[in-house]
Symmetry: C2
Amino acid sequence: MSSPAALDWSADNCTIGRTLDLIGDRWTFLVLREVFNGIRRFDDLTVRTAIPRTVLTDRLRRLVDAGVLRKEPYREPGTRSRMEYRLTEKGLDLYPVLLALQTWGDRYLADPEGAPIEFAHRGCEAKVQLVMRCEAGHELKRVRDVTGRPGPSARRRVA
Amino acid sequence: MSSPAALDWSADNCTIGRTLDLIGDRWTFLVLREVFNGIRRFDDLTVRTAIPRTVLTDRLRRLVDAGVLRKEPYREPGTRSRMEYRLTEKGLDLYPVLLALQTWGDRYLADPEGAPIEFAHRGCEAKVQLVMRCEAGHELKRVRDVTGRPGPSARRRVA
């Protein structure tokens, strides 16, 4: 049997790998989930995620450094000014990742009653889903309809 | 300012959280990436990912236990029978997660020349992308067009 073609190519500049370097740990995904849910403040984030405070501080700092979140000052009456965390455009563009995780989780890991949260089209209220489509407009139903090929930055693997 | 609505609800049965319990670490995502790339054998996986062998053994076992991968025996001439790892239907359904990670990575973290790998529609060769669409058929261009609401298994948070 011949080797799989992927073995000929380097994975060093893989953009999935780089994305995971930024957001690829469980806590970071949970922080993103919450910020997409409208939770923006440190204490609220600890309530919803049970992340240890030192870990949360670290993950928020990384996401700010990466340009995924930005800090915005706010002040409650009678208290000092604090920071809340909002998604940048770069952060908002991560939404399909969360939606894909949730779609799979709803299919395979939800309670018997169904999903704990649903995402709908604002206005028409119909549920939102992810669809694979090619640039020629064909909808792809199965992974087997997708094929990989080396892109412009593909590099041969050096053994 | 009132509290964010999400604070009223429990995140305990969140399907994103459960999905991350299964696949939410960097190594596991990389294993899945490789298996989707056609890499099925232990030694080939170590070549492409640089995962320590003990970690790879653990991650493969977890993915098999979760029903995401299945083991299939193979034998090279003159060697003992070994196992290779293939995606189950449940595993194949994770493809949008990988595609979403890659789409984001290609936009923000690729080398200047572009993506290292491209995914295309088998047959027509046009590039594949993820699209958000509601069940009524409207395409959603922006996250702000999406709204969350409690689903059938939503539970009030107990303070």
